[in-house]
């Protein structure tokens, strides 16, 4: 079975058609999938291998739902009793998925597949960044931040005001074919929403009732049925916002220099600090992105919920102004950024 996922084709090979269908079903809930295209680079995803008894190497990441170890064979991803080996040289993801994996919470399945795909996609020039992607009248805006900074709330507030959306938690950035600009494309499909967000957007309640509550207290909601026609696969970013929740009635924007924006982007780049070539590629992409965008801190206050139209107007006006050239800035000789 072949799928198109964020500009690449994924060739899925499984020992049984049942498992192939089950994986395809999980992917369709996690990603915006299409039919594979021969014109795209191809990733091989093979299931049916054996999990090694012991994995030695550098432990890069360790969380309850996922651990990642790197050694000469590649990146070893473990989630419970399931295992994937990501080999960037062979352009392959291979491993063993246990019976338990298929009944595990979607969040655990997401963690394993997201990380595996992000590693391979980066080697194809598609670099992940922790961001919600939205667009308005053809101009793209990235809301770049880690968890708990209000990305999802802001994206939903704008979507209810007629904006389009790409993804909630992560977007992929890549050079256009002529390498003259950087585009963003959607990656994950569901929005990760806690009860507070669901409370602020009542329309989410109708789909939340049928969606399992995850151990982290959130639900992965498929919002495309609520905001019909507002999903876009890609956009050309003109503005980058770094949101921060503040205790104030009104939201406001504070401009950032290119350098400040770059260090913040590095802090939210997914997959950075892995392969040297990947790091260099991602930094070059960030450089180019900053040449086509203006960057701001968004201190967002109570108006996100009380006056979403005001916030949407503020951001739409700023986005329209972001077609102007970017001004340089200065700071200390050497500054520790992160």
């Amino acid at each position: 079975m072949e799928y198109s996922l964020s500009n690449v084709t994924v060739q899925l090979e499984c020992p049984s058609s049942e498992q192939e269908l089950a994986i395809g079903d999980i992917w369709s809930r996690l990603f915006h999938l299409g039919a594979g295209k021969s014109s795209q680079p191809c990733i091989h995803f093979r299931v049916g291998g054996v999990r090694p008894a012991e994995i030695s190497g550098e432990r890069l990441f360790d969380a309850p739902g996922l651990s990642v170890t790197r050694n000469a064979d590649g990146y070893h991803l473990t989630s419970g009793d399931s295992y994937l080996l990501v080999n960037l040289i062979r352009n392959e993801i291979a491993g063993a998925l246990s019976h338990n994996f298929f009944s595990a919470p979607l969040e655990n399945q997401r963690a394993l597949f997201f990380f595996a795909f992000l590693l391979v996609l980066a080697s194809h020039g598609l670099y992940g960044v922790h961001a919600s992607g939205v667009s308005y009248r053809g101009s793209g805006m990235l809301l770049v931040a880690g968890s708990g900074c209000g990305k999802t709330t802001l994206a939903l507030a704008l979507v209810t005001q007629g904006w389009n959306y790409l993804s909630d938690d992560a977007v992929l950035l890549y050079h256009t074919a002529n390498r003259e600009s950087v585009e963003a494309c959607a990656f994950g499909r569901p929005f990760s929403c806690g009860s507070e967000i669901i409370g602020h957007f009542p329309e989410l309640g109708s789909i939340a009732a049928d969606t399992p509550l995850l151990p982290n207290g959130k639900r992965l909601l498929e919002v495309s049925t609520l905001y019909d026609g507002q999903f876009h696969t890609r956009c050309l970013p003109n503005m980058i916002l770094f949101p921060e929740i503040v205790d104030a009635p009104l939201s406001r924007l504070l401009p950032l220099t290119q350098t400040e924006a770059l260090t913040r982007l590095i802090g939210q780049g997914i997959g950075l600090l892995t392969e040297r070539a990947t790091v260099v590629g991602q930094l070059r992409l960030f450089e180019q992105l900053l040449m086509q965008t203006h960057s701001f801190r968004l201190l967002h206050g109570a108006d996100v919920h009380s006056k979403p139209a005001r916030l949407a107007t503020l951001l739409a006006n700023a986005l329209a102004a972001c077609r102007q050239p970017v001004a340089p800035g200065t700071q200390g000789v050497l500054a520790h950024a992160g």
Binding site: I266, L273, V280, R284, P328, T330, G332, A335
Partner: protein, 93 residues
């Protein structure tokens, strides 16, 4: 630190230059990143060309309105900071 010393960028440091003349340094080993302003960027570019500290301070004196002594002091202080964070390797010439 002597002005005849040479400092070289650490091989694990990846750099990026912005069109505002500033730079960001990313250390792959420590996973820390730093920004350099335009003066710091000029110094870093000289390091990449294997210039001595004396030569770098001369460049700063030529380009900016600083005395030779102040330029050398700036370079030595910056080398100290870069060395502290393992961004350069320093050797006596």
């Amino acid at each position: 630190m002597q002005d005849s010393c040479k400092a070289q960028p650490h091989p694990d440091v990846v750099t990026t230059r912005l069109d505002n003349g500033e730079m960001v340094l990313l250390h792959l080993g420590t996973r820390q990143y730093f920004s350099l302003n335009q003066t710091g960027s000029l110094v870093w570019q000289q390091l990449e060309q294997q210039a001595t500290l004396a030569s770098i301070s001369q460049t700063l004196h030529d380009r900016f309105d600083v005395t030779p002594g102040d330029a050398l002091q700036t370079v030595i202080e910056l080398m100290g900071q870069l060395g502290t964070h393992n961004l350069v390797t320093i050797e006596d010439s």
